[in-house]
């Protein structure tokens, strides 16, 4: 398993080096100068930096690529631009502003300008206060769960973008487009990471 992991890691980093200038620019800048090198379709530059910082904290680079390595921030912008209607877009904009207002009152600055420890505290608070998704069956939610807050929704979109990126879907998770058979009871060790499809 380790060997397999190592191979996957090598592959992902090679890809990141080629396609990930946004990551490099983030790494090279200090936190107050975080900037992006792509043009958002919906988000303002400040909002895009906010989204990039949040998703990087949720899914940082470890021995596997992080959210920014696979351009989750760009994907989220695209989702807001192309999938959300005007009402949804306004909501996103208001919620980012509100998140920053809360950070100002709690810690004295906008989220991206906080110290790392305050950023962690801000996300911890968001985790506790943004609700949870209910269970779903065949595409429909069941029960009557409360709608989730903005942070949970952002996190979910980040996971969607991350796990459906080609790099993670093909090289990090277990990718098997044509399984050929169903085996209903395997040891998890035989599989390792979860199936990507």
């Amino acid at each position: 398993m380790d060997r397999r992991k190592a191979l996957k890691f090598t592959g992902s980093m090679a890809t990141a080096a080629v396609v990930g200038p946004s990551l490099l620019s983030l790494l090279q800048s200090c936190k107050n100068e975080t900037r992006i090198d792509w043009t958002p379709q919906f988000l303002t530059l400040d909002e895009a930096v906010f989204v990039a910082k949040v998703v990087d904290m949720i899914l940082p680079r470890t021995e596997t690529p992080g959210a920014l390595d696979v351009k989750v921030d760009m994907f989220i912008d695209k989702v807001y631009a192309q999938l959300y209607n005007e009402e949804g877009q306004n909501h996103v904009r208001n919620e980012i502003a509100k998140f920053n207002t809360d950070c100002q009152s709690d810690f004295g600055a906008d989220f991206v300008n906080l110290s790392e420890s305050d950023q962690i505290k801000a996300l911890q608070k968001a985790e506790e206060t943004s609700g949870q998704f209910g269970s779903g069956v065949w595409g429909t939610t069941v029960g009557n769960p409360e709608p989730v807050g903005f942070y949970r929704s952002l996190k979910s979109t980040a996971l969607w973008g991350y796990f459906t990126s080609e790099e993670i879907g093909e090289n990090v998770l277990n990718y098997d487009p044509v399984p050929g058979a169903y085996r209903g009871c395997l040891s998890l060790d035989e599989v390792g990471n979860k199936w990507s499809l």
């Binding site: 994907f75 050929g180 395997l186």
Partner: protein, 568 residues
């Protein structure tokens, strides 16, 4: 497979016309062609040739713009069907355009349609169960609706016949309420399902939990490949492993040389000839050119799908049938039924964290009906009964998003599968009510200026009482089986969500109270056959498609016999 002959000749009188090419239309085409009839199939939408036209079949999420989500424009195009929750970029090409094909909901009703070669046989759930003797006797016994003019024994040989060609996988149980089919090997239950099955069957005598019986090949059949466990069925199967008209019946019909398949043919009405007392042909509008064309035939099979079939009959007026073809009884359009949907229970399963599965099984578990099957199982709260579908799996993104964690350790942990979850969701039989109905709406027209349908249908006391029981039983079974954090649910979905709409041109023994006779012939126009969901006199609690196949094969056989005897 070869290309289809799409050149239909209006000057020619065909032996048979089949309206629609979904599950029942495909079977009608196959049977009629194989019995030597020159058959014209009229399809409202485009050709979807097996293999060739499954354009999304091999796309991964990252191959699709927006990873498979629908844009607002695409959502608008499917603004009604999207309620179902199972339409995405990969499958939207097989869902009808709701804007071009409007319908009116007098009461909420979800009408899912597939306007292309193969119809909804490309999209269906593939759950295939025989109906039982108690289903065909139900109306006669409790007095709801009218008596079926057939019994299980009339269909039994036809079930066998269609099963051997369609290919049904499953496990024989010998239950009277769920007769066994001729089975290919069953799919496997996973570890958690096996454990829950044991507990439910131990703690609830008379209840069974089995792997779903499905129209998926678990071994090759007639040149079709077996299931490869991709679970991308609704995009069209590159192996022809599940039953669809496209992969199975239409190629068989085409192989006879007797088939003409005309796409983009919107059937406006069936023409009635007063001098012969029979239908003479079909009037269509070419969906691309808007041209009106008439085609003639000796017999007509109307298989446009339940409500579309009835829409065509209602629109087929004449001096003889001023209120729609076959509507002497006034029952045409009435007695609409569906199965109740999305009522059940769900929860987490502990103790199997080191277990996983491989392959994406396009199937789940099934719990056959156990209420009202004998004296001991009689309910004093409701008539008839329900079954459950469900399954166990390891959870994905929404569970990962719910965890109150972030950062490197969190990210590494969600590379592993989430906790196990198990659910069951019931499907209850709906009684046939005269006032659950559809009727023509001339105020709202479709893209081609044709009148549309208004649907006026609701679940009533007996269905709601069953839903209550479904939820109570589901919670009880899951809790007893050791499932944790059990949540009972009732989404209170309107009819249509089950996508098992049935009735509106029912079979019966008496022309005064039914639209069709016991061999699916329209009362008063004996050369017109209706063998899709419209013909159903009651709706059981099990999935209907296998019964449509059997009824169609039986009726086609009868039609050819009658034609030979010059009776029609």
């Amino acid at each position: 497979m070869p290309n289809y002959n799409i050149d239909a000749d209006p000057k020619h009188t065909y032996d048979a016309i089949v309206i629609g090419s979904g599950i029942s239309g495909g079977w009608a085409a196959k049977e009629l062609c194989e019995k030597g009839l020159k058959t014209l199939v009229l399809e409202r939408g485009p050709v979807v040739e097996h293999l060739v036209d499954y354009k999304t079949a091999n796309l991964d999420p990252w191959d699709m713009e927006l990873r498979g989500a629908l844009t607002p424009e695409e959502q608008k195009k499917h603004y009604k069907a999207i309620r179902s929750g199972f339409i995405g970029k990969d499958t939207e090409l097989f869902f009808a355009n709701d804007e071009e094909n409007p319908y009116t909901e007098e009461k909420p009703f979800l009408w899912i349609r597939g306007h292309q070669m193969g119809g909804r046989s490309l999209l269906w759930g593939k759950q295939t169960y025989r109906w039982s003797e108690m289903d065909f006797e139900a109306n006669a016994k409790d007095g709801h609706g009218v008596d079926w003019p057939i019994r299980y024994k009339d269909l039994e040989p036809w079930y066998t016949y269609v099963e051997k060609f369609a290919g049904i996988s499953g496990e024989a149980l010998g239950l009277p309420q769920l007769p066994d089919s001729h089975f290919l090997p069953p799919m496997e239950l996973n570890c958690v399902e096996k454990d829950i099955k044991k507990r439910i069957e131990r703690d609830f005598p008379g209840r069974h939990m089995i792997i779903g019986r499905v129209a998926h090949l678990t071994e090759p059949l007639n040149g079709r490949g077996q299931c490869q466990y991709r679970n991308r069925c609704s995009r069209g199967c590159p192996y022809g492993a599940y039953f669809s008209s496209n992969a199975v019946t239409l190629p068989a019909a085409n192989a006879t040389g007797n088939l003409t398949f005309r796409p983009y043919s919107i059937v406006q009405s069936i023409m009635y000839d007063e001098s012969t007392g029979k239908a003479s042909g079909v009037r269509i509008i070419d969906a691309e050119t808007n041209e009106d064309i008439e085609y003639k035939a000796k017999i007509i099979f109307c298989n446009a799908s339940t409500l579309s079939t009835t829409q065509i009959l209602l629109n087929s007026t004449s001096n003889r049938f001023p209120e729609g073809m076959g509507n002497d009884s006034g029952e045409l359009g009435h007695n609409l039924m569906d199965h109740t949907y999305r009522v059940g229970a769900i929860g987490k399963v502990e103790g199997f964290d080191d277990k996983y599965y491989s392959g994406r099984r396009p199937n789940g578990i099934y719990i056959p009906r156990y209420w009202n099957i004998d004296e001991n199982s009689k309910s004093d709260k409701f008539l008839r009964g329900f079954g459950y579908q469900g399954g166990a799996y390891r959870m994905g993104n929404s569970e990962a998003a719910n965890r109150q964690e972030f950062g490197g350790d969190y990210k590494d942990s969600i590379m592993k599968p989430g906790p196990w979850e198990f659910f069951i969701t019931g499907f209850a039989e709906c009684l046939p009510y005269h006032d659950n109905k559809v009727y023509l709406n001339k105020e709202v027209t479709d893209k081609w200026g044709q009148p549309t349908l208004t649907i006026d249908c609701e679940y009533k006391e007996n269905e709601l009482a069953q839903n209550k029981q479904i939820q109570e039983d589901a919670v009880e079974m899951l809790e007893k089986a050791g499932v944790k954090n059990v949540l009972g649910f009732d989404n209170k979905h309107e009819p249509g969500y089950g996508v098992h709409e049935m009735g509106t041109a029912r079979m019966g023994r008496d022309p005064k109270t039914s639209v069709l006779n016991g061999t699916n012939q329209v009362h008063g126009a004996k050369n017109v056959f209706v063998t899709d969901g419209a013909c159903m006199t009651s709706n059981s609690c099990v999935n209907p498609s296998l019964t449509y196949m059997a009824i169609t094969a039986r009726a086609a056989n009868h039609a050819v016999e009658e034609l030979k005897k010059m009776n029609i």
